[in-house]
């Protein structure tokens, strides 16, 4: 069964550094998402992306964050200048469509630790 993959599984970075989290969505999916989960808290929506544009973003997704689909397979989340509070598990997801019959498929996550 096709899966969403994410790299790296764990990233440690210093405060103020830039990080790029990578995802390979399922190949015939058109909609892509990032979510995050701070330890012990809810999984929170960050952003959705379709047709090379952001289609929706949350208030968490400020100017420090950006997303890109640099080629036909990868989907990336960049954090420009990391803060301690960016430490979280980041999940990538993808779906074929956005109607209620289309569930989102999630990757295994990247644990980001900012020191």
């Amino acid at each position: 069964e096709p899966e969403v993959t994410q790299t790296p599984s764990h990233q440690v970075t210093q405060m103020g550094q830039e990080v790029i989290l990578r995802c390979v969505p399922i190949s015939n999916h058109l909609y892509f998402y990032w979510y995050r989960q701070i330890l012990g808290q809810k999984v929170e929506f960050l952003v959705s992306f379709y047709n090379n544009e952001i289609s929706e973003k949350s208030e968490i997704f400020d100017d420090q964050f950006s997303v890109e689909r640099p080629d036909g397979s990868n989907f990336t989340l960049k954090i420009r200048s990391t803060k301690l509070e960016d430490s979280a598990m980041y999940f990538c997801a993808s779906s074929q469509g956005t109607g209620p019959s289309y569930e989102q498929y999630f990757g295994p996550g990247t644990r980001l630790t900012v020191t």
């Binding site: 998402y33 808290q41 999984v43 929506f45 209620p100 990757g107």
Partner: protein, 112 residues
């Protein structure tokens, strides 16, 4: 605003016994509800969804969920728990066109 509540942080059940993981929701409009499971070092795996129709929804691995509109609940159930069902379970509601709104998760421990 749309929201989901999972009132139990952890549920313990003996192997072979029925299990229930609770979820209540608050939405405006039609609720589109989902259950996902997370095993260690794995992503969130889709279990089942309620869109419309029968209130009892069947999903993967023998799980089912009962939609109750009057109680605004969508509890996950399984008639006979397995040790391998031990994992973290998330209830979610569609919060708009694109995003899911998740509950805080319930850790299920099935004891041999």
């Amino acid at each position: 605003a749309q929201s989901v509540a999972q009132p139990e942080d952890q549920v313990n059940v003996a192997e072979g016994n029925p299990l229930t993981v609770k979820c209540t929701y608050s939405v405006s409009g039609n609720p589109y509800l989902f259950w996902y499971v997370q095993y260690p070092n794995r992503g969130l795996q889709f279990l089942l969804k309620y869109i419309t129709g029968d209130n009892l929804v069947k999903g993967s691995y023998g799980f089912e969920a009962e939609f109750n509109k009057s109680q605004t609940s969508f509890h996950l159930k399984k008639p006979s728990a397995l040790v391998s069902d031990s994992a973290l379970y998330f209830c979610a509601v569609r919060g708009g066109t694109y995003k899911y709104i998740f509950g805080t998760g319930t850790r299920l421990k099935v004891l041999a």
